[in-house]
């Protein structure tokens, strides 16, 4: 009975972005407390989303203990002493901010949470990714500009300019200047063999 409920709650959880908020609960005895929180990933149409979901790890204090998510996205750390702790969520494809969690000894394990990246304090321990991560470069779609910009394109462009623009420029040139230029040319070319 219960497992069926669980799987439906997973579906509901994925489809609902807005969800009844539940305060971070912390209970325990003799100076060790329990931190309960939830990871919420915006529903996505990506295939394999659920598979990704089962591979999320939640890490306390840089590896002191590691836990996994339940189908409803909840996670729990048991036997945590009072003090200031760090919770990190690792999920392929998402970036989560580490969370500073203060477990108060005076208020019987009351939990205060702050995102360390954005310095935003959380009223409830619901962790959402700061951004989705794309590990691959996107291939730029085909466009003419990319060809024109490539070295080959520039070569071709230069050729075209030489072919079509230069003759026009020659036409506009003063014939006298042309002659002068022609006279200059041999002197240049005669220099070249000399330099060899």
């Amino acid at each position: 009975m219960a497992p069926i409920l669980r799987s439906t709650s997973l579906l509901a959880f994925l489809s609902l972005f807005f969800f009844a908020s539940i305060l971070p609960i912390s209970s325990g005895s003799d100076d060790s407390y329990t931190i309960t929180g939830r990871v919420r990933i915006p529903a996505s149409t990506a295939i394999g989303h659920a598979a990704k979901f089962s591979n999320i790890k939640v890490v306390l204090n840089g590896g002191q203990s590691t836990t996994f998510l339940r189908p409803d996205g909840y996670f729990t750390f048991h036997k945590v002493p009072a003090g200031t702790h760090l919770i990190e969520v690792y999920a392929l494809g998402y970036f989560f901010s580490p969370v500073r969690v203060d477990v108060s000894a005076r208020h019987r394990g009351k939990v205060q949470a702050t995102l360390t990246e954005t310095r935003r304090s959380l009223t409830e321990l619901v962790l959402e990714p700061l951004r989705a991560e794309q590990y691959y470069e996107m291939r730029e779609p085909f466009n003419v500009m990319s060809i024109v910009k490539s070295p080959m394109g520039l070569m071709m462009g230069f050729m075209l300019i030489v072919m079509f623009v230069m003759p026009k420029m020659m036409e506009n040139m003063d014939p006298e200047e042309m002659n002068r230029a022609r006279e200059d040319m041999p002197s240049l070319s005669s220099l070249l063999p000399a330099s060899r």
């Binding site: 204090n61 002191q64 200031t84 360390t116 590990y135 691959y136 470069e137 730029e140």
Partner: protein, 982 residues
């Protein structure tokens, strides 16, 4: 020189592009990723008539995984935390995998098909004790029998459906250690048998619904019990007494407890210390006496009789029910190069249900564990499949006399890695198959062109991918021009050496290291570390390169060491020797002998050092440099670092001329009340630095202080040595030092108040980058320290250079007192880190990238320019041109610069980099539970064309140009002609 300048120029040009990035269709071209699980501890088969056949395993790497029984592939797996060792695994309700971990304090249920965690329960745990998981068998779904867990002095009953603790029983007061929990089927009463102080047997009868104790009986046993216990039936267990010479049968059901003693000497002739073996057999137990395994049947009245005996090298499985209320078990033993698998009935050992002989690779060692499972063949007889774990940790499935699949799980516990060259291609060895014809070649490139212009259809994309993966003989077993093909030599915890090909990650050879003396004490030495012993390139070209494996006979550091030399090309062990002294530290020296064998010094626990290889030539080389050999030791527990130098040959004490005594030169003592050493690090000895000078944007010159004798030490306050969250910022401080290991001088000291470890650092050229936790900001921080040589700083005056009044030609001495100055800067970093490495290239010209192994088991490539102390908030125009990035308070995490892209290197432990021959490129190999390899070009491949380079586009352009020239020529001819006609 001109080439270098050109390269540098290119470097500057290419440095505009910062991040490593990969297109999705480039995955698998340069990289490979292998998934492992580790040495299997428990295995549970799940072979229903319908659906996938799988086996659930838990391993010593804290992995719980579901494997495909047909192919050995991983359906799913989870790597638990490092302190979350798995104590037991089982299947409950036919749909959940139950794991008990953390010494019996965490119980988790995983969904069998997809591995999603269903529930997790933390169990109360008061004291250290062994833990026990008991999942009722033959569960009908409608009846909810609880899962029983004993651990830490408590017995818990947990509902399998939702993980709720139904009841718990506190046994901490009595000191009661539960040994067995028996749940007779169809009964609501469970029997809990245990010992109090190993001298009193207690049986509780507990109602499984409520947890109430129905009855309790105890009985004192005068001799006391020891160790193992074997439950042979529902009302009897057999234990050994404390002298290990008497078997005690304890019957406990109904009436009370009764003991029945049987001397082992009555059972077998030459008795010694006995040991009860773990397999659970019905009405029978296996006892190991005098290297033999004897099977003892337990009769109705607790009478014991020996029914069979086997040689010692036998591994056995638990018994499993086969048809007609009979039980069978499997045993595997070695004979030459074959292993024999036998399945026998428990009640009648003469009935052999299955007998198979399988050829087994010698380099897998012995069989260490067997798990057996049966299936019904088409002719309704029983078939058996056996999962065996070998000494090298590999996992094999045997069925019908053959190995169905194998997994090299030894590679999940790599302890040390080095790289080696492949043999040079010789005449007669076939060259890479070039594309068959020009047409094919052109076709291929046109396809590539289409791909790069995104004009390719899906079929084309597949064709391109195929072509790329097959291309250029990347998995050939010879050296290539660019040095892309190499061997990665990995030493595993099982003492096996693997050579992996960088091209496709396949195992080229593997060798299980043998002990030279076949003594009892050192049957299999444990490998410690791996060194390049002989790398021939100039003089001894005919020699094959070899590696040195330093091992130890036992876990203690004073245990005698073993050296083993392995040929890299063939994978054969050339020689191995017992060196007769312990191994504390191995120091490769910068000298080689005529055959290019590297000289190594090995320090032992007595303060002596021993020279290897033990040849007179090596001795003469060493004697020449005797005065110049220094070494240091770090005693982290006492907070002392000592520097040592050579004193004399220790001929006075022993006749060994390769043994030397040392003298202490200096000590650095850290105050134990305020500082505790948590990390030490030196530069890689084989690192290449291209230039010592660094030119600033304002034409200023800085001289890097590149000394090989620098030691980075990080200390924290003793209170801050624990986990994050255990100290307040006021209580903890982190101090880092740079110490010269020749003179013991502290060159630099930097203190971070309110910070704590763990410190992960990387040391390269003249800089150290380290990662630690800042308690005030409650964030991780990364600090870079760069160290520069002040004494050479005045050489920047041009006139001094012209007049020759510079000291650039003055020799650098390690004894001199360097005038150094440092620059440092700190940044926030948003992730926990497991390890940091740095890229290394052949000439050290290419800019560096930091490779940061994050706790999410990914590897992030971060350009060194992000951790440059010269970064300022508003860099000037000149500085911008130089490539200085404006200062930000945290380091960027660019998803495209994860070199592991969409893979995870689960359980990441280390990253190794090695240069390729091509200056721009570096090999990166990461190991943990998984293995990952890729090739990186930190400044892009500026010295070669990429695979993507489109030759077709080049050809088309050239053809077009030629055509254009021809057309214009024709046109101009025509025009000239028409003008002449005019």
């Amino acid at each position: 020189m001109a080439i270098r300048v050109f390269l540098l120029l290119l470097l500057f040009l290419s440095s505009a592009i910062v991040s490593f990035s990969l297109y999705e269709d480039q995955v698998g071209l340069m990289d490979w990723h292998q998934r492992y699980i580790g040495k299997v501890k428990h295995a549970v088969f799940h072979t229903q008539k319908t659906g996938r056949k799988r086996v659930i395993v838990s391993t010593e790497e804290n992995v719980v995984a579901s494997l495909d029984l047909r192919l050995g592939e991983i359906f799913w797996r989870h790597v638990l935390g490092t302190k979350d060792a798995i104590d037991g695994v089982d299947i409950a309700l036919g749909k959940y995998v139950i794991t008990l971990s953390s010494e019996g304090s965490t119980l988790r249920a995983w969904n069998l098909p997809d591995g999603q965690m269903v529930w997790e329960t933390s169990l109360h745990n008061a004291q250290q004790s062994k833990s026990l998981l008991s999942v009722p068998i033959n569960l009908k779904v409608d009846k909810d029998y609880p899962i029983l867990v004993f651990g830490g002095g408590y017995l818990h009953a947990v509902s399998a459906v939702d993980g709720e603790v139904l009841w718990k029983k506190d046994f901490t007061a009595e000191g009661f250690e539960v040994q067995r929990v028996l749940q007779p089927p169809g009964s609501s009463i469970i029997y809990v048998l245990g010992f109090v102080n190993s001298a009193e047997a207690v049986v509780y009868q507990i109602d499984s619904k409520t947890g109430e104790v129905a009855s309790q009986k105890s009985m004192e046993f005068p001799g006391g019990f020891s160790g193992g216990i074997s439950s042979v039936s529902n009302d009897k267990v057999v234990v050994l007494d404390s002298t290990r010479s008497i078997l005690v049968t304890i019957s406990f059901l109904d009436g009370g407890i009764s003991f029945q003693k049987t001397r082992i000497s009555d059972l077998v002739e030459d008795s010694g210390n006995a040991e009860i073996l773990l397999p659970l057999l019905t009405n029978m137990l296996a006892v190991k006496v005098n290297k033999r395994t004897i099977f003892v049947r337990v009769g109705g009245e607790g009478k014991l009789e020996v029914v069979d005996s086997l040689s010692d090298e036998t591994a056995m499985s638990d018994s499993l029910p086969v048809a007609d209320d009979q039980e069978a078990f499997a045993s595997v033993h070695h004979e030459g190069s074959k292993i024999h698998l036998m399945v026998k009935l428990v009640n009648d050992l003469d009935t052999v249900l299955l007998k198979e002989s399988i050829q087994m690779d010698q380099h897998r060692g012995r069989v260490s564990k067997v798990f057996v499972n049966n299936y019904i063949r088409t002719d309704r007889s029983n078939g058996f499949r056996a999962l065996i774990v070998m000494e090298d940790h590999s996992l094999l499935l045997l069925q019908q006399g053959a190995i169905v699949w194998r997994r090299e799980e030894g590679l999940a516990s790599v302890t040390d890695v080095t790289t080696a060259e492949l043999p040079v291609e010789k005449d007669g060895v076939s060259v890479a198959e070039v594309e068959h014809t020009l047409v094919d070649w052109l076709k291929g490139h046109v396809l590539k062109l289409k791909g790069s212009l995104l004009l390719a259809s899906p079929e084309d994309v597949v064709a391109i991918q195929d072509m790329r993966l097959k291309s250029s003989g990347r998995s050939k077993l010879t050296r290539d021009h660019n040095g892309f093909r190499k061997l990665i030599i990995a030493l595993t915890r099982a003492g096996k050496l693997f050579a992996l090909h960088t091209g496709d990650g396949r195992i080229v050879w593997s060798v299980l290291l043998n002990s030279p003396s076949k003594s009892e004490a050192c049957e299999r030495p444990s490998g410690i570390s791996l060194y390049q012993w002989q790398v021939p390139h100039h003089h001894a070209m005919d020699e094959n390169p070899s590696v040195l494996v330093v091992g130890r006979c036992g876990v203690d550091s004073s245990a005698p060491g073993v050296l083993s030399f392995v040929d890299v090309y063939t994978g054969k062990e050339i020689s191995s020797s017992d060196i007769g002294h312990s191994v504390v530290q191995v120091m490769p020296l910068p000298f080689t002998d005529a055959t290019e064998q590297r000289l190594h010094l090995i320090a032992d626990t007595n303060g002596h050092v021993h020279l290897y290889p033990k040849t007179s030539e090596a001795l003469s080389i060493f004697q020449r440099e005797f005065e110049n050999v220094y070494w240091y030791t770090v005693e982290a527990d006492d907070g002392i670092i000592r520097g040592h130098a050579m004193k004399s040959s220790c001929s006075g004490e022993t006749a060994d001329e390769y043994c030397f005594t040392t003298r202490e030169l200096w000590t650095v003592v850290f105050p134990s009340e305020s500082e505790k050493i948590i990390s030490t690090l030196t530069r890689k000895p084989n690192e290449v630095v291209h230039t010592q000078a660094k030119v600033n944007s304002d034409q200023d010159l800085l001289y890097k202080y590149v000394s090989k004798n620098l030691l980075f030490v990080a200390t924290v306050s003793p209170k801050g040595a624990g986990e994050i969250g255990s100290v307040t910022p006021e209580e903890s401080a982190l101090v880092v030092y740079l110490i010269d290991t020749i003179t013991g001088r502290i060159l630099h000291r930097l203190s971070h108040q309110g910070c704590q470890g763990p410190v992960h650092a990387v040391f390269s050229e003249n800089w150290v980058v380290y990662h630690y936790f800042n308690l005030r900001a409650h964030k991780y921080e990364v600090t870079v320290v760069e160290i520069y040589d002040q004494s050479r700083a005045e050489n920047k005056n041009v006139w001094k250079l012209v007049l020759g009044k510079h000291n650039l030609t003055a020799p650098i001495s390690s004894y001199s007192r360097p005038e150094v100055f440092t620059k440092s800067q700190s940044y926030f970093f948003a992730q926990s880190v497991k390890t940091i490495a740095v890229t290394s290239t052949a000439k050290g010209i290419t800019s560096k990238q930091l490779l940061i192994g994050t706790i999410g088991d990914q590897i992030l490539a971060l350009d060194k320019r992000f951790v440059d102390p010269r970064r300022t908030l508003n860099p000037s125009q000149a500085e911008k041109e130089e490539g200085i990035i404006p200062l930000t308070d945290s380091l960027p995490i660019i998803p495209q610069s994860y070199i592991t892209h969409s893979h995870k290197v689960e359980g990441l432990r280390g990253i190794i980099t090695a240069p390729a021959k091509l200056e721009s490129t570096t090999h990166v190999f990461a190991y943990g539970v998984d293995l990952f390899y890729t090739r990186l070009a930190p400044s892009k491949t500026y010295d070669s064309l990429t695979d993507d380079f489109s030759y077709a586009l080049l050809l088309i352009t050239i053809v077009a140009l030629v055509a254009a020239i021809y057309i214009t020529w024709v046109l101009s001819e025509k025009k000239e002609l028409s003008e002449k006609w005019r």
